[in-house]
Chain length 195, copies 4
């Protein structure tokens, strides 16, 4: 019964926060949609911020779990990188709040938000790094600085997160991603120079 209400609250909250952001979402509406009293939400979470944080943390954990599982299933570093990117963006569709996190004003968001976001980012960097290590070990990738490259690519992928929901259709985004991956693998120069 309690668990039920809790999930109901969290579900509703995820949708509302996803649609309107933490600022514009009011607990009153979450409460009424979740069929509980506003005060009940405060019993569970203590504050609006806590509700938001909980929603975020769940989304982040979810994404990582799925990405890691997907990468396990393929072998070659190239495939792993492709899988990383495609899985990440497929999952992102559902992790609306994580995406929007990048779109919220820093000041209007609880401080711990940053930690969740950065944790996710760093763990992604970690995954990319280990794919790179594998690739370099197998002599498929060449790079002078694995971590630096991994972070650069992680940053680059962020540009697509932002765009995901708002501006373009999923299909077009996937085209761009394919293209970006192609470029990442081969570069745009005809002759290879040292990077």
């Amino acid at each position: 019964m309690k668990q039920e209400k809790l999930e109901s609250i969290l579900d509703t909250a995820r949708k509302m926060f996803g649609r309107y952001g933490i600022q514009k979402t009011n607990l009153g509406e979450i409460a009424s949609l979740a069929r509980v009293a506003k005060a009940t939400i405060y019993n569970y979470f203590g504050s609006k911020d806590q509700v938001y944080l909980e929603v975020l943390q769940r989304e982040a954990d979810d994404i990582l779990k799925k990405i890691e599982a997907a990468i396990e299933r393929v072998r070659s570093p190239i495939e792993k990188l492709r899988t990383f990117v495609s899985t990440k963006f497929r999952c992102m569709k559902e992790a609306v709040n994580i995406i929007n996190l990048g779109r919220e004003r820093t000041d209007s968001v609880p401080p711990k938000t940053d930690r969740i976001r950065n944790d996710l980012f760093e763990r992604e960097v970690g995954i990319i790094s280990s794919i790179f290590e594998l690739g370099v070990k197998e002599g498929i990738f060449r790079t002078t600085d694995i971590l630096l490259t991994a972070r650069a690519i992680a940053y680059a992928l962020r540009g697509f997160e932002l765009t995901w929901l708002v501006e373009e259709s999923s299909e077009r985004i996937e085209h761009y991603l394919d293209k970006l991956i192609a470029v990442l693998f081969n570069g745009i120069l005809v002759e290879k120079v040292e990077g």
Copy 2:
């Protein structure tokens, strides 16, 4: 006199919006810092949103003007691309609101905001495209689809905008950018496959 006040308002607004976003900035404070009455701002702009829009448009125009000028000054496509990236991010430092635009909730922002942002984006894509065309014509770049690639790269660069002010030092960001550019030029694969 009128022009003076108008600039004063716009200046103050730019700073405030830049620091606190459109949501958290209130016209009252802008007014008092700009030494005018709140109602005066309404005389000039009609609404808070219009003030914001005006600030944005000015920043966008400013950036493009500077980027285009900088690119004119170098000749080779490779240099042009490098200049594009470095100029863009140098100017971005001052175009705080454009940057933060990516960090505002979609719903908390006037609809026309998107148009300004997208215009800027498309014009950047246009610039990158023409650099690519030049590069391909000169036989330096190879790519199967100029526009697609240009957009992919433009998206990738967005990831860095977000990060620009908040998370990392300028120097570190520049390292990552250098690395990204290197990867873009040469790829990470040892052997070139088709991109």
Copy 3:
């Protein structure tokens, strides 16, 4: 017009605070009784506390002005002291908030409240002291320590403030005051010992 509303607000506030205290009084009701919008009150005073403080300060100033005027009108120290007490308590009837100040929880009241209350107290002590000085100079009063005695008496009078509105009828209180003054003047001992 503005002055009118301001007075209207302050008047209403004085009544409400007087009846219900700062805790239980809500600005909403003050606003509606004063025929202004809640926000208007905030325009004038900035916060509930400030309204309260303003009400208090006015009452305190009022009392002192009246006491000082009344004392001027009589000559002998004995008369002055009697006048002080009677005027003070006559005025107190209207300075409901000052009285209740002694009845509010320290914690539920803005910090500056204490200063107003203490200022009033100290100024009363000052007045009593100067009456004493006069009495001693004229050889009518005897006391070993004017300031100490003045404060002791000022404290004693506080006991009546508290009682003023709540427990007893005005007439009975005045009887008690008369008695207290008589005791203060002559003591209760048959034989005078050293005080």
Copy 4:
């Protein structure tokens, strides 16, 4: 077991009410500090007000018991009066809620509160009266109206209750009390007039 919890609740409540008053104290905190559930308190007392009332009644009874015992121990009316005052104020230090009772808003307090407070007051007046009767009988005190004088003095002592914890150091208060007692005994006039 039951008695234990009840005492635990009452103890905690006394401390909390003493520190924060009935308004600012919430049952939730009392409950958690007393290691019981909020609902348990309702089982015992039925309402927040009842808890408060119980706390008060206990404090009042306690004070009176101690004062009466102390007065028994001395013989002369003068000593009895001095003992009354000193014991009263010594005990008051612990009867925080009784003291603060004078500092609570009348309206924020259960109606029966007044009865407890007045009972205590009247019983104090009774004690002072009987001391006076004794003094008059022994020809040490002179007074035209014992009850009136007793009440006047009881009121005067109230002024010090208020001040007790908040404004002054214990030592200074005791000085003022000494002075007040001296004045009460001997008056301030050089020549005795009719009291």
